[in-house]
Assembly symmetry: C2
Homo-oligomer: 227 residues x 2
DNA sequence: TGCTAAGATGTTGGATACAAAATAAAAGCT
DNA sequence: AGCTTTTATTTTGTATCCAACATCTTAGCA
């Protein structure tokens, strides 16, 4: 068994789907961009088959839109849809948090604390992409105690959508200090067992992110429309 | 244009995925049953390719579990997972209902009323499968006014999971009268604009379904384990 | 007899080749 | 010229074939 990695062997569609997902989330593949299987197949130097599967998967995830016999494109959400995504996040995250808090133990708190530290480091280093990942990890860590696997999977999917827009504007995000504070406060309130206060803070935390983002995206799109 | 159906042409994977979905939801393909591509390919008289795609899609939907190079099986949920599915339904449906009620107009109410009637007819005819579909339609109709497309898509997916278990036991469901009443009351409360009362009723409506179902499934599984 | 290792079998994953559909372009008609 | 119809091109969808992986069986050995 020595040296044998325990990693489940990834198939080509897995690898490709992951890579394409990253490319979409990072904005390398822009909203609305049309997708041609053959072009991607050539790029990855594989046949169209694994590409197809990867695209279909991304389609199911909502990152790609596919039409029979007509190909596909990178999903572009309207402003109200982006708002909706954040409302969903809020709804589900608060529910998870509420279930989680009473069950959190010292280990959970320690783990959150650990991530929080790394987050603030990456913060000062201005390492945006790392911060995004850690932010996601932190939120997840807050909810693990809830022991709701299906709900968390659902949330991961939704977060994937919102991440797209968060990342798009993370670099221009000015006032990060309040977010930093809020993250700490969330943990402290959870520690104190103040369930309702914590949930309320989480709600407003997500709402603030939503509002800031919508504003930025709106102005960005207005710019693009002008040109 | 005459005679030309406006239906978007369905590809083989579409048709097959729909059929397989129905077979899983109806219980024809039982929980945990292993799936072999070739067997299905022969059955539908197509190559394995569209079967593969259909299975991958069902996998993404959560109805089938797939392992690389090792094939797949029909997803089997634990009791707590089934409970979780219903909690998710409750969370999302109530949110949608709350947003929907203030926006509902005469047309929405009429549509709900219409479905309700059909539902009660199918009810008396003891047409279980039709009732299931109408039940789903009714709930959806209550939420259309909310104008939350993404959320409703999400709900549809979750309902797909719960439908599996609802259908499994719909035939043995005894006391349907309370459900019938509740469905009427939901609409009436919405009409009266009593948002919180309506949401509360919806919550308890789903909770009751959940509890009844969990009990039934638990005893059924206990039986099966004995044998 | 019990264990390990090599082979056989079956099943899935991926590549190539062909068919069908959609779009774009060109020709014909009024 | 403007419109319709036909042809050509491009792109996706499906079938068939081969390769890789997993499991089961059997042979070899202590």
């Amino acid at each position: 068994m020595a040296g044998k990695r325990a990693i489940t062997r990834q198939s080509l569609p897995d690898v490709i789907a992951n890579d394409l997902r990253e490319r979409i989330l990072s904005g390398e593949l822009a909203e609305g961009e049309t997708i041609r299987q053959e072009a991607l197949a050539e790029e990855y130097d594989v046949s169209r088959m694994p590409i197809r599967e990867a695209l279909k998967r991304l389609n199911a995830e909502g990152l790609v839109q596919w039409t029979n016999n007509r190909g596909g494109s990178v999903t572009k959400h309207s402003l109200s849809e982006i708002g909706e995504i954040f409302d969903l996040r809020s709804l589900i995250e608060v529910d998870l948090f509420r279930r989680s808090i009473p069950k959190m133990d010292a280990g959970d708190f320690a783990r959150c604390e650990e991530i929080l530290k790394q987050m603030e480091t990456s913060y000062d280093d201005n390492d945006v992409s790392k911060w995004g990942i850690l932010n996601h990890e932190y939120h997840s860590a807050l909810y693990t105690a809830s022991d709701r696997k299906l709900t968390q999977e659902l949330l991961d999917r939704i977060n994937m959508q919102s991440d797209r827009y968060v990342r798009m504007h993370l670099s221009v995000m000015k006032q990060r200090e309040p977010a930093k504070m809020e993250h700490r406060d969330l943990l402290q309130l959870a520690r104190d067992g103040k369930v309702e206060d914590a949930c309320e803070l989480l709600t407003s935390h997500i709402r603030r992110t939503k509002e800031q983002l919508l504003e930025m995206i709106a102005s960005k799109r207005a710019d693009e429309a002008q040109r």
